[in-house]
Amino acid sequence: MYIRSASAVSPQASFNQMLSTPAVYTGDKLNCIEPDYSKYIDPKLIRRMSRIIKMGVAAAMEALKDAELSMPDAIITGTAYGCLADTDAFLSRMVEFNEELLSPTSFIQSTHNTVGAQIALMLHCHHYNNTYVHRGSSFEAAVLDTQSLLEEGEAENILVGAVDEIIENSHAIISRFGIYKESESNKLLNSGTDGTMAGEGASFFVFSKNKEQNSIAKLEDVKTYYKTGRKAENIIHNFLMENNVPVENLDLIILGNNGDSKTDEHYNTVAQHLFGGKRLVGYKNYCGEYPTSSAFALWMATMMIEHGKKINNATSPKKILIYNNYKLKYPSLYLLSAC
């Protein structure tokens, strides 16, 4: 399948900005730089929408615009945590007011499919609409459904994306598990201590079955595994073999190391054993760590290919592998080729 467009609302203002002067964060989290939503959403609606919905809708609308597609044949979303702000608002009020004096607004926006539903509502899109909520493989499930739907012949062009947000209470709870540390995002990946920085973002793509004039890249393959007993090196090696792509042919490898020494060792081992001498880059210094961050990595890879086509020099990557392994439980692989 082909990627016609990619768009992200992330802790980075834009891809170009990220290339020249990436936004740097100090503390234990990276928050999104939000766009001017009035470009995408009716001001009356903006007031009612929580942040995650606005971020998701803006990224989705931008992806559709870039693909020059007005009506997708399907809308598929991945989110690990769902609409946390609305869930938290309803839950907190319910506890504080002992189940009395509640208003329905935050409840009706708390369901995990709200972002996908709001996109459908704005587009008046009656087509297939689905939402996957499986922790570190939520976005991967959405992409696999996309692939399967295209193969089944039930769609030609699909809007697919991932959204997750940081809110104060979720951050306070997750922090108690000892996952985060205070750092500077530009030094995060080499920090060499335990813990990482939290992240968030919304990334949307238009995938199509056939190569179109404006296709940026071909997503050659995507794979995700659940608690596999197999070694990462074997999984990656087999993945490349199945796609007839020897390591030499890869121009760039994007890895999911997040600056936590406990898990970085895993990526270092993989890199040493498989990718000696290759160009390797991390991405979590730009977006932070969160369960659907691989969608940001796919956005970054797509943008690098598009940018590479424009400047067209020897360093322009034509084949990119992404390997992320959220909490070392959900290894996922993406292989992209320029087209």
Binding site: L91, S92, L102, N113, H126, N130, H134, I173, K227
Partner: protein, 399 residues
Amino acid sequence: MSQKVYIAGVGIISAIGNNVGENLASLKDGNAGMQQMERLQSVHKDKLPVAEVSLSNDELCSQLKLPNHISRSALLSTVAAKEAISNSGIDIHKWRTGFISATSVGGMDKTENFFTEFLADHQNGDLKNVVNHECGAVTEITADHLGIRDFVTTVSTACSSSANSIFLAARLIRQGFLDVVVAGGTDSLTKFTLNGFNTLMILDSQYCQPFDENRRGLNLGEGAGYLVLVSEKVAESMDQKPEIALSGWCNANDAHHQTASSPDGTGNYLAMKGALKKADLKPADIDYINLHGTGTNNNDIAEGTAIKNLFEGNYPPVSSTKSFTGHTLGASGAIEAVYSVLAIREGLIFPNLRFETQMKELPFAPVTELQHKELRNVMSNSFGFGGNCSSLIFSKVIG
């Protein structure tokens, strides 16, 4: 791509029974599961009846040998999924097996208790009660218990969630990605959903009356349902080849409002029509529709109008088994899929309990007494917040 996907086994736990046999007996005897709230601790205890599973968390934990901090959603899921596998008689470890679950509340039953302490002081609250909050965490408890690893995921599209997990399973089997999939969904009763639906003023303080002119709203329920879907190859390997297949499905969106259905039930209509097309069937081929039929004013008129428009002149028998189980939210699609399979297997149309007056807008009324009839094709509808509409068609395999 014409390969069939068979239903090799079913499992269920709901307010009307802890297994398939008990559920079937209740459906035949007309025994509904609603009563005064016992397990859920809510200030609305005396006002809002619910349909609770009779087993306590302690009983479920000791039956499954799982620790008691685990979400009730995961316990219900594990009971029903285990039954489905044992009912199928398949050794799932011999095949590429997936587990596709669905839930709308996930581990909220534990989180809402955690929050009481957490809000008082952010360092308070036992983290064990929030570690399985995510929907995917609930799925993994069951997947790990069953030893399924080849593919594990979770769908969440509110009240249509588990219908989506079932057709995804079928699609992945047809495409040769998996051989066997245990697919369905689970939801436990929580104060979060009870209060949420209460603020929308769509809960019935009496026992619900789906598709009745004087319906007042829905009763919430809880439970889990799973189907074991298998490829032609797996079906051939079984001692007795399954006789029921998932023949059609469709997911469409109403794109009308975040929670309310459009007056004509556009999404409902498109989902049913799409499922017929996928199954290559005509409206007249449908022998029974297991309705979404929540009992709310809005759902029943939208769904009823969509059926009126699609089945004009050929209205099949219809009923809402939510009159037995209450609305089990993310589990309802799978629970009703199990009932649809049982309807074909047993040759039964289940009654729509407490029905009194036909809706004046509709030219048909639901079935009120248990009917014995050979059924070839049964449609099951599931509609949810966010305009998510899904229809499934189960068919008896001929020849």
